[in-house]
């Protein structure tokens, strides 16, 4: 009888679902390699989108003549079409490597807030500039100053700094991993929209 009970006890223990592991320091903590990998992903995608939109390649390759030029070079007669994609990749890669290395050295609260600041800045600056240009086109009075890159840049820096400073520590930490899907989605929307001329011809 005792043995039967023991067997039943053993079976019931086997059938019982394992208790949900509470997030311990070991599971919740992301290692330095993780910080590097995550920051690399976020910063590479962000920088790639920005460099593509600004057309800032590290170099320009002319495949027809096998020529390499530093930075951005317009097409030249007799040299075929220039290629910028490799240059964007290299510049984004170098930037992301630098940013990710710095990220591993930062205290975590600083890292979370800096990430929020950079991502917001990347979103706000072009959005404010586009809004300024739109308003300048619509209003009847002189509003050329709204087209200024520096005005929208100043406002974007101020806005991003205010939000990242005022946001709670829990929120910036919670949202940190979400940048891994927000940035590629946002980047692809921006880059996809920039290709609209191909689809509207």
């Amino acid at each position: 009888m005792t043995q039967t009970l023991d067997v039943h006890q053993g079976v019931s223990q086997l059938n019982r679902a394992p208790p949900m592991a509470a997030p311990t320091a070991a599971t919740a903590e992301i290692s330095r390699a993780g910080i590097f990998a995550i920051t690399f992903g976020i910063s590479f995608m962000l920088l790639y989108t920005v460099f593509e939109r600004l057309n800032w390649p590290f170099f320009t390759y002319h495949p027809a003549v096998g020529k390499l030029d530093f930075w951005m070079q317009r097409p030249r007669s007799g040299e075929g079409p220039p290629m910028y994609w490799y240059g964007w990749l290299v510049l984004s890669g170098m930037g992301a490597l630098g940013v990710s290395t710095i990220a591993t050295l930062l205290p975590r609260p600083w890292l979370y807030r800096t990430t929020v600041f950079c991502c917001l800045l990347a979103a706000l600056w072009p959005a404010l500039l586009a809004a300024g240009v739109f308003i300048a086109d619509q209003v009847s009075f002189e509003a050329e100053f709204l087209r200024s890159v520096w005005l929208s840049g100043f406002l974007a820096v101020a806005g991003a700094a205010a939000i990242s400073y005022l946001a709670s520590a829990q929120w910036v930490q919670r949202v940190w991993l979400s940048w891994l899907w927000i940035v590629p989605m946002g980047g692809l929307i921006v880059l996809g929209y920039s290709l609209k001329s191909y689809f509207l011809r």
Partner: protein
Amino acid sequence: MEAISDFVFDYISVRTFWRALLFVHFILAVSLLGLVTLQTVAVLMPARQAAGNFITRVRATPAASYVTPIVFLYVPTFLLGAWVYLKYRTYVRIPMEQFGHWWTVGTFEFKEHIVTMGVALLPAYWYFWRQPLTEEYAAIRKWLVVFLAISVWYAFLVGHVANDFRGVGA
């Protein structure tokens, strides 16, 4: 790269060389496509037991077992694609524009961007799929798998359309 191609051109024609390169890119892409699809099925529709039909057994495969082969296939497929892209820019895209195939050009441009995002996410993908897998990162793991699968499927389909315009067998 130019030194490699110059050496090879002593033995095979330029046309054959680029076609062979494109074909290897295609083979790698097909393998990658299979793996990302299987992993996506295992992640989105997991099954507890391997018993049953083929689909159930695929669903029951541990999704983590696909990670290393995917990383080791994604990178060379990307690099080979970047190499073949040289020929695309001069030999394929120019006639595409001349014939007014703007949708094909546009979708191929988008392919550049989506595969670049995929490569950028590979380190994070590898990190979150390391053992032991923690439950709190399950959502981000799932997202990374789905994004990589979308990027590979998109690149494959668009690449195939571009190949049909001017490539192997076109």
